[in-house]
């Protein structure tokens, strides 16, 4: 099988700081990639490169074997992006915002209305569709962002912490949604700190730290025969410290 997306020696610097360092990665169609790493590891930068938001990187990103810089619009048309608690024009209502986003994908009004109405209803936002989002909770905004990312029925779905701020029921809905999208053959690139979800839904887990990929494989391969959870593997690989001892230090400081 040919990869749908390929990163070849991709690097990105902000001033003197290297955020991504020679990242090489293949993403195959229909796969769910769990992309994990500590804060500041380079996850969001990778996502922004994959979505065409950042274009001044070195290295190559291929979509179906073609450099995305040659036809960035083809990539953007295929991708549905849900950023982590992203800024949103919150003076608009969900209805207005989704019509605005849909128009950017050249979707007809009737289709936007039909799809957005159905997705928002599934998220329980049907009564809030004509209310301004400046008074929405984090979770409600996140649901609108999820809707905006899925509205044009993308082939590749890139989710950056999609469950931030969601309530327990919505988390269940999104977990199930990931499964359904996977069954429909969508390619999913999923960044998260929620290790249990990553462990459960991902076909392959990619661990990035300090801009470099330090692990890439199935959960079984990462465990390497042990029965460790992904959480433990993550802690070992990214800090190498005993986190229980750190917690003990904090508790001791409170008493002292």
């Amino acid at each position: 099988m040919k990869p749908i997306l390929t990163l070849q020696n991709v690097s990105k610097q902000y001033g003197d700081k290297t955020v991504l360092n020679d990242v090489t990665l293949d993403i195959y169609p229909g796969q769910v990639i769990g992309y994990i790493g500590p804060n500041g590891a380079g996850k969001s930068t990778t996502v922004k490169i994959l979505t065409g938001v950042i274009q001044d990187y070195t290295g190559t990103v291929l979509l179906n074997g073609v450099d995305i810089k040659e036809d960035i619009l083809a990539l953007k048309q295929m991708i549905g992006y849900v950023p982590e608690l992203a800024d949103i024009y919150d003076l608009l209502t969900p209805n207005e915002y989704l019509h605005f986003v849909g128009a950017l994908y050249h979707m007809p009004d009737a289709l936007i209305k039909e799809r957005s109405g159905r997705i928002l209803k599934a998220f329980g936002l049907q009564d809030n569709i004509d209310q301004r989002m400046d008074r929405f909770s984090k979770g409600m905004r996140q649901k609108v962002l999820l809707t905006s990312g899925l509205l044009h029925n993308p082939e590749i779905v890139i989710l950056d912490e999609p469950m931030s701020g969601l309530d327990a029921n919505a988390v269940i809905v999104v977990k199930e949604l990931l499964q359904v999208l996977k069954q429909e053959g969508k390619t999913i690139f999923y960044c998260s700190h929620m290790m249990d979800v990553v462990e459960r839904v991902s076909d392959r887990i990619v661990l990035i730290d300090k801009g470099t990929i330090i692990a890439n494989g199935t959960i079984e391969a990462l465990r390497a025969g042990s029965d460790s959870s992904l959480e433990k593997i993550f802690a070992q690989m990214t800090t190498g410290e005993n986190l229980n001892a750190t917690a003990g230090d904090i508790a001791a400081a409170m008493k002292g």
Partner: protein, 570 residues
């Protein structure tokens, strides 16, 4: 300055303890509040200062500004009718103080952070109440004292020690009246407006304040040169007797007995009794009702966040108004242009920052116009009669371009610029399509209605001969707008953060860009003052239209390489 104020206010520690406050906590709360005041931009500078790095000495600056504003009030004191001058002085003072309090005070009064920061702490109610009251007192003191300084010195110098001693009493009474007006105003807003609209209405007060301030600065010194104004007499305005500031002026009879009639002396009693009555009204009725309603606002803010599935009315946007959708569809064939038109229309309708910075510029046009035509010492009636013979209408028509720079900068700069990520992740082949739609949106919504009103006035005064001028001015100003947009603001709508260090650079760019249309404007004026050159107007219309078409086409074809992008990496 804050440290001195805090030290002075906490001197009577015993008194505060007796009233049930914890002095250490009171100092901590007041200290934090004063520090916050220091770092908060003032109402009149909000447009420019919001979200910027705070100025370290905001308190000192606000005191200085208040002193300068105080100088502006004393202009009427030079009038021939001293009573009239005093009445105008108190009236302007009262109006400005009330507007300033409504504009600025609301953020102090309705600081919702108190709920999460102070209420969960072990601070008793008396301490909280006292901290709020003392904070208000300091706040008022910082405005009223420096603002009254100029009047105090002038009247004290002119009328002697009795006036110098009497003046602060009058200012105290005036402050009470202002407090009453502000309280009553807040209550009216809270009573008749939905809680979610409260901030919007305060926003309109801020806009009105900035217009009032601007009008005072420009028109008051000008008025002093006008003989009509100088000779105004209080006896010509019978209704003035019902205004509290008239009572305050009348109260000068206590120190200047020879200048006032018996009736005025009697009225002066109201200056003392009236404010006392108002204090009673504030304490007895307004404050409790006010506190209760503020409580409701707080509840609404913390609990009333839109719940999923719940239909709350406060921020619901009525479905009825779909005019913008019809216009968007009518004026834009390209769906990207349509999206640009709609986002520009909706964002500008709802953004407080936009309103704060753009709406006052509408008022600047008539204020500047009156300022310019009242330059001579002639009575206004004579100036008015001579208008149709002048070429002032050209000036008036081109004055509408004041709005252009502010309008266009607010079309690209936004506090929510990070939300523009959506443009970069969408398959937009040519950003110019979105940009051109957004320009159409704001031009249709803001510039064209204002230009229509001004053109209507010009047509009414200058007659049918002004039609060519109206047409040429419209084309030239649109040309100017597109030139500015093309050179200085070539960005996607609401996609950029305003940086101070870009301002200077942009200013020179804008000035450079404006040379061309300004040249056209002067050409226009020249054809008007030289009647036999009227046909040149037709030539100018043709030339400007060609330029406009070329510029429009270039702006519409803006590519991703040409558009200025915002850094969304963080």
């Amino acid at each position: 300055m804050n440290k001195v104020l805090l030290f002075l206010i906490l001197l009577p520690k015993g008194l505060w303890r007796m009233l049930g406050a914890d002095v250490a906590q009171l100092r901590a709360v007041l200290g934090a509040k004063l520090m916050l005041d220091d770092r908060r931009p003032m109402a009149m500078g909000k447009g420019q200062g919001a979200k910027k790095k705070p100025f370290k000495f905001m308190t000192a600056l606000s005191v200085l500004i208040s002193v300068v504003i105080g100088f502006m009030y004393i202009i009427p004191l030079m009038m021939t009718d001293k009573f009239m001058g005093l009445w105008l002085y108190f009236t302007v003072f009262l109006l400005m103080l009330s507007f300033m309090l409504i504009s600025d005070f609301s953020t102090v009064l309705f600081d919702k952070r108190d709920n999460s920061i102070l209420l969960p702490r072990p601070v008793n109610e008396r301490t909280l109440l006292l901290s709020r009251l003392l904070h208000m007192f300091i706040y008022l003191f910082r405005i009223v004292f420096p603002m009254s300084l100029a009047g105090w010195v002038v009247l004290g110098y002119a009328k002697g020690w009795a006036a110098a001693l009497w003046f602060p009493v009058m200012i105290l009474q005036l402050t009470v009246i202002a407090l009453f007006l502000v309280n009553a105003c807040y209550l009216m807003i809270l009573r008749f407006a939905k809680p979610g609209r409260f901030k919007d209405i305060i926003n309109y007060f801020q806009i009105a304040f900035s217009v009032l301030f601007f009008a005072c600065v420009y028109l008051m010194p000008r008025a002093m040169n006008n003989t009509d104004f100088q000779e105004m007499k209080h006896t010509d305005y019978a209704w003035a007797v019902y205004t509290p500031t008239y009572w305050l002026s009348a109260a000068w009879s206590w120190i200047e007995t020879d200048k006032l009639s018996a009736a005025t002396k009697w009225i002066s009693i109201l200056a003392i009794v009236g404010p006392l009555l108002l204090v009673w009204l504030i304490v007895k009725y307004l404050s409790p009702s006010f506190a209760k309603r503020i409580g409701n606002i707080d509840d609404e803010r913390t609990e009333g966040k839109a719940e999923e599935g719940a239909t709350i009315a406060v921020t619901a946007v009525a479905k009825k108004d779909k005019l913008y959708l019809k216009l968007a569809a009518l004026l834009n064939k390209n769906p990207l242009s349509k999206a640009g038109f709609i986002i520009a229309w909706l964002q500008t309708t709802r953004s407080r920052n936009f309103k704060m910075r753009v709406y006052p510029t509408f008022a600047y046009v008539p204020v500047y116009f009156v300022y310019l035509i009242s330059q001579s010492k002639k009575p206004l009636s004579e100036v008015w009669e001579g208008l149709p013979q002048s070429s002032t209408h050209i000036l008036l028509l081109y004055m509408t371009s004041f709005i252009v720079l502010q309008l266009l900068s607010m079309l690209v700069y936004s506090d929510q610029y990070k939300a523009s990520w959506v443009y970069y992740s969408s398959p937009i082949a040519r950003p110019g399509d979105v940009m051109v739609g957004a320009f159409k949106g704001v031009w249709l919504k803001y510039f064209i209605p204002m230009f229509a009103v001004v053109s209507g006035f010009v047509f009414w005064v200058w007659g049918i001969g002004s039609l060519l001028d109206i047409a040429l001015a419209f084309i030239n100003i649109t040309l100017l707008a597109l030139s500015v947009l093309r050179i200085a603001y070539r960005r996607l709508p609401f996609s950029a953060m305003e940086r101070m260090n870009e301002k200077g650079n942009r200013f020179f760019k804008t000035m450079f860009v404006m040379i061309l249309p300004m040249g056209l404007g002067f050409g226009h004026y020249w054809t008007t003052i030289t009647p036999w050159l009227w046909w040149m107007k037709l030539v100018f219309i043709l030339l400007s239209s060609i330029l406009l078409w070329l510029l429009w086409d270039s702006y519409k074809h803006t590519s991703w390489d040409e558009v200025k992008k915002v850094d969304l990496s963080s």
